[in-house]
Symmetry: C2
């Protein structure tokens, strides 16, 4: 029987990571977020902080700048290498058993897998600011800037490696506004759907 | 108590209209689609076919061409007039009682209403082609072209009047892939959510 795979893409501050964790816990699925970073760090020999910073985020907010950063003579960059290792690990994880994977273009990498749910979690700016202020001890302005920067960097990274638009409804099985629906409701909807697969 | 409002935006061939109809029936809500066109035709004195063709679709596939079609000396066009009447009618409908409204930028017009669910239904091309072939007696190629043209025209119309991107997850409370989830599942998810509002 096919494994059930849930990928969670999320806006910064939307609670998407927490939702994924809760879903995994409720369904008894493996949960991959920081531990995926550890696997990539182990495989590449790169520092965990470097992997976390570059495995899902562009170093710059602009795609054109990104495309030319740190190329070697073959046109590859450290980001390309990181992406290729990360991609292989995501594919291996999906072969192992039921799982929830946070970010890392997993929705794109596993788009054609049967028994998969690809989820995008987004939210309203005021609610996201509240969440980030509390979690990271920031002012309103700092939280807003952080949200905007992180999402822009995720969006550029995703666009660069998938040639798709981050946050476009058509790329996901299901997209949810966690501010309007509430975190618990999102966990409920996703868990129940996974059980119908 | 606030009225519960469900707006359904949908890709052509995704079954979004049918899903909206089923949700309205299950919840006992008023359903607005063709009857909204009739209201607009009555108010404007315009022909129903004209209202249907221009109330949700750009005449051309390109926004720049659209922006300059049929302007009078005040810079307004028949499309602008139609949009303004349609907008007023959508607002009135939402004041009247619980309802499901299909298309017509209702998600944008009613974005700030409490107790509202704004839904986007999309699907996989092969499933959409199947649906359109059956409903309109078309070949595969004709169905594919029709889907692509209709969605492009909806997208241009929506972008022009809302300054937002059609199909961007962040504009909707919930986006669903009806091909992956199945029509009945979509009806279920939306109906159950509406009952929690």
């Amino acid at each position: 029987m096919s494994k059930t795979i849930i990928t969670i893409s999320r806006e910064f501050g939307s609670g998407g990571r927490y939702i994924g964790e809760q879903v995994a816990q409720r369904l008894g699925y493996s949960y991959y977020d920081k531990n995926l970073i550890e696997k990539v760090a182990e495989e590449t020999g790169l520092d965990k902080v470097f992997v976390e910073n570059h495995g899902e985020y562009s170093p710059k907010k602009f795609a054109m700048a990104y495309a030319f950063v740190g190329r070697d003579k073959y046109g590859s960059s450290m980001s390309d290498y990181l992406y290729s290792v990360q991609r292989k690990i995501v594919l291996n994880i999906a072969d192992e058993g039921n799982c929830v994977i946070i970010g890392r273009c997993a929705d794109y990498i596993l788009a054609d897998r049967p028994n998969s749910l690809h989820i995008f979690i987004h939210g309203n700016m005021d609610k996201k600011i509240e969440r980030i202020k509390t979690l990271y001890d920031k002012t309103d302005a700092e939280a807003k800037k952080l949200i905007s920067d992180m999402d822009k960097r995720r969006s550029v990274h995703y666009g660069y490696y998938t040639d798709q638009e981050w946050g476009k409804a058509q790329n996901y099985t299901l997209s949810l506004n966690s501010s309007a629906l509430g975190i618990d409701n999102c966990v409920d909807i996703i868990s129940k759907l996974a059980e119908t697969l």
